[in-house]
C-alpha cells in the first residue's frame, strides 16, 4: 500500500541501506531455546566474513556465557537462514551462501534446551 499523504507521493528514506554500514552488513543470530539471551543479537560484519569466523569468533563471543555453549556438538547444529533450513559451509563467506543484509541465522542445538531444559 502507498502511504496516504497530503502530497501524491510519499517516499521514505531507507535508513538502513547496506551502503550506510561502511562495508559491513547486518547479520542477526538467534540461538533457539536459550532465552537467557533475551533476544537474537545483531552484528555488523563484512559480507565476506567466513562462516567459520562467524561461529568461532562472533557467535562464541556472544553466547559462551551459557553453560550449554561448551556442550555444543557443532556437527549436529541445525541451522536456519531466514526461516529456511540451511547447511552452511565453514570455509565459505556469508554472502556466498546467501546470508545477505539483515538476514537471520538461527541455530538449534538438539538436546541442549537451556537451563534445566526450560528454554532459557
Amino acid at each position: 500500500m502507498t502511504v496516504a499523504a497530503i502530497t501524491p507521493e510519499y517516499i521514505g528514506e531507507r535508513r538502513d541501506r547496506v551502503e550506510n554500514f561502511h562495508g559491513n552488513q547486518i547479520v542477526y543470530v538467534g540461538w533457539d531455546r536459550h532465552l537467557m539471551f533475551c533476544s537474537p543479537v545483531a552484528f555488523a560484519l563484512p559480507p565476506e566474513t567466513l562462516f567459520s569466523t562467524l561461529v568461532d569468533d562472533v557467535i562464541s563471543g556472544a553466547f559462551s556465557q551459557h553453560p550449554d555453549f561448551a556442550e555444543i556438538d557443532w556437527g549436529k547444529v541445525q541451522w536456519h537462514l531466514n526461516d529456511q533450513p540451511f547447511a552452511p559451509e565453514r570455509d565459505k563467506s556469508l554472502i556466498e551462501q546467501g546470508v545477505d543484509h539483515k538476514s537471520i541465522i538461527r541455530m538449534a542445538t538438539p538436546g541442549l534446551n537451556g537451563i534445566e531444559g526450560s528454554g532459557s
Binding site: 497530503i6 521514505g12 532465552l35 537467557m36 526461516d83 537451563i115
Partner: protein, 510 residues
C-alpha cells in the same frame, strides 16, 4: 428585564459552536488543508457531540484548584525529604523510566493535540483538542517538577530530555508518538485520543499510581492521579471522536478499524515497559500486570467494543495474542533490561526469593516453568561475582523497536520471528501485529531510526560502547547504569536508613 437562565448545553453552544463562521474570503480547504487526505469523509461537523461542555472560565478555575493542591504537596514532599519514605530505593528506578520514557510522550501528545486543535474543521472538536493539548503540557511539566526532587538524590533522572532523543529503549515510546504525530489528524485522534487514552492509559496511570501510593511515593501519586483527572476528559473525547467518525460515513468504518488494530498493537507493545514496572519495580505489590490487564483491558475493553459493535467495529486484531501474552510480557521485558542493564540509565536487579514466590503465585502457568530457572541462574551468577550482562547488541523489531524478546504464544520458548521483503531489502518483526503495520505502509516504516543500526552506522558517538553510552547517551557510567546492588543509589539509601553498606556486608560475611 429578567434574564432567562441558560443551561450548560445552551451556554456552551453559544460560547463555542456559535463563534465559528462560514469563510467567504478564503476557501475552507485553504484553512483546513489536512482534512481530506486520509480518506475520512466528514459530511457535517455540527453533528459532533461535545463530551464535556467546558468553557475557559471553568477550565481555569478547576485546573488552578488542581494545580494548587498538587504543588502544595510537592513542596511539602521536598521540604520533608520525602524521598526517604519510599519503601525501597529500587522502586525509584520505575520513576526514572517514567520521566525518561513517558513524560516526553506527554510533550509529544501536547504538540499533537495542538496540531489537530488547529487542523480539524469543526470548532467543537477543535476546542476539545486544544484543551487536551494544554492538559498534556501540564502533565509533562508536573512530572518534571514532581521528579525534580528525586533528581537531587538519585542518579539517572538528570538528562531525561537529551536521552529521549538518543537512548535505545527510549526510541520505543519516541517512535510510537512520532508515528502518531506524523499521521494525519484523524489517525492521530484514533491513535492517541482513542486507542491510547481510552483503551490503554488506564493501565499506566491507575494501577501503577495506586502502586506508587502503596510504596510511599507521595510525589508520583499526586501528579499521577492529578493528571488522570484530566485523562477522564480525554478518554471521553477519544470515544466521541470514534463515534463521530463512524456515524459520519460508512466508508470511514474500515479505515477506523484498521487504525484501531494498528494502534492497539503499537500501544500494547509499548506497555511492556509498564508491565515490568508493575511486576518487578514496585516492592509492595497492589496487583500483578496480568490482573491489571484483566480489569483495565479485558473487562473495560470488552464493554467498550461491545458498545461499538453497533457501528460494525470489532475487537482489535491481535487482541487474542495480547491477552495470551499477559502471562509473559512483564518477565520478558524485565529479562531484556536485565540483559542490557549496563546500557540503561536505571538500575536492574533480580527479584528476591520472596518476590519470586509472589510471581509464582500470580503467574502459576508461566513463572516457574519458563522464567524462574533463568532468574535463579542469573542470581547464582551474580553471587559468583559474574553478574550476567549480554555482551552484544540486540536485534530490534522494525516497527515497535523493542529487542526481539517476545515468544510464540503457541510455543513460549521460541522467539517469534517475522520477515518481509520490500523494495529489495529485508525487514524483521517481533509479531504479526508489527509486520502488518509495516506491510500496510512500508514507505513510512523504512525510515525508522533503529538505535542498534544507528550505532553500527557510526551515528551515535563512536565505535566503542563507552562512546555511545557515555558521550552520546550521557549515561554516567558505573553510576546510572548496572545492577542496583553496588550502585551509589543503594549506598546513599543505606546511609539514610542506617543500613549496612555493601562493604560492611562483605566484612560481616568474612
Amino acid at each position: 428585564m429578567t434574564a432567562k437562565k441558560l443551561n450548560m448545553k445552551e451556554k456552551y453552544s453559544l460560547l463555542t459552536r456559535d463563534l465559528d463562521w462560514e469563510y467567504s474570503y478564503r476557501d475552507y480547504k485553504e484553512i483546513f488543508p489536512q482534512e481530506e487526505f486520509e480518506g475520512i469523509k466528514i459530511t457535517d461537523w455540527s453533528k459532533w457531540e461535545d463530551p464535556f461542555r467546558l468553557t475557559m472560565d471553568a477550565y481555569w478555575k478547576y485546573q488552578a484548584e488542581k494545580e494548587k493542591k498538587l504543588y502544595a504537596i510537592l513542596d511539602a514532599f521536598a521540604q520533608n525529604n520525602g524521598q526517604q519514605n519510599v519503601t525501597d530505593a529500587r522502586y525509584i528506578n520505575a520513576i526514572k523510566l517514567f520521566l525518561t520514557g513517558i513524560s516526553p510522550g506527554e510533550h509529544q501528545a501536547a504538540m499533537g493535540f495542538g496540531h489537530v486543535g488547529r487542523q480539524l474543521g469543526g470548532v467543537g472538536a477543535r476546542v476539545a483538542c486544544q484543551m487536551q493539548a494544554i492538559d498534556e503540557l501540564r502533565h509533562v511539566q508536573t512530572q518534571i517538577h514532581a521528579m525534580s526532587h528525586y533528581n537531587k538524590f538519585f542518579d539517572g533522572f538528570q538528562d531525561f530530555s537529551h536521552m529521549h532523543d538518543r537512548v535505545w529503549y527510549l526510541s520505543v515510546p519516541k517512535s510510537f508518538f512520532d508515528d502518531a504525530r506524523t499521521a494525519g489528524p484523524f489517525e492521530y485522534m484514533v491513535a492517541i485520543g482513542f486507542s491510547f487514552e481510552y483503551v490503554l492509559t488506564n493501565l499506566l496511570f491507575v494501577p501503577f499510581m495506586s502502586g506508587a501510593a502503596y510504596n510511599g511515593d507521595m510525589a508520583t501519586v499526586t501528579f499521577g492521579f492529578s493528571a488522570q483527572s484530566d485523562e477522564a476528559r480525554h478518554m471521553t473525547l477519544g470515544l466521541e471522536i470514534i463515534k463521530f467518525l463512524l456515524e459520519q460515513h460508512p466508508d470511514n468504518v474500515p479505515i477506523v478499524q484498521r487504525w484501531i488494530n494498528k494502534w492497539f498493537w503499537r500501544g500494547t507493545r509499548m506497555l511492556a515497559l509498564v508491565a515490568m514496572m508493575m511486576d518487578y519495580m514496585l516492592p509492595n505489590k497492589v496487583m500483578s500486570w496480568q490482573e491489571a490487564w484483566e480489569v483495565y483491558f479485558e473487562e473495560a475493553g470488552s464493554s467498550l467494543f461491545k458498545d461499538l459493535a453497533r457501528y460494525g467495529i470489532e475487537m482489535p486484531a491481535y487482541a487474542k495474542t495480547a491477552i495470551a501474552e499477559k502471562e509473559h510480557v512483564s518477565h520478558q521485558a524485565w529479562s531484556i533490561f536485565y540483559n542490557y542493564g549496563h546500557a540503561a540509565a536505571f538500575h536492574t536487579w533480580m527479584p528476591t526469593e520472596k518476590e519470586m514466590d509472589w510471581l509464582s503465585e500470580k503467574y502459576p502457568n508461566t513463572f516457574d516453568k519458563y522464567y524462574r530457572p533463568r532468574f535463579e541462574k542469573w542470581r547464582e551468577m551474580e553471587a559468583a561475582g559474574e553478574r550476567f550482562y549480554n555482551p552484544t547488541l540486540p536485534m530490534l523489531c522494525q516497527t515497535c523497536q523493542i529487542p526481539m524478546g517476545f515468544t510464540d504464544m503457541e510455543d513460549p520458548t521460541a522467539t517469534f520471528y517475522r520477515q518481509s521483503e520490500y523494495d529489495g531489502e529485508r525487514y524483521n518483526f517481533c509479531s504479526d501485529g508489527c509486520k502488518d503495520i509495516f506491510d500496510y505502509e512500508p514507505e513510512k516504516y523504512v525510515q525508522a531510526w533503529l538505535p542498534v543500526h544507528q550505532i553500527y552506522q557510526g551515528n551515535c558517538g563512536g565505535a566503542e560502547m563507552e562512546d555511545v553510552l557515555g558521550d552520546y547517551y550521557k549515561i554516567n557510567l558505573g553510576v546510572d547504569n548496572m545492577d542496583f546492588h553496588g550502585s551509589p543509589d543503594e549506598e546513599r539509601w543505606n546511609a539514610w536508613h542506617n543500613l549496612p553498606s555493601a562493604e560492611d556486608k562483605l566484612k560481616q560475611a568474612s
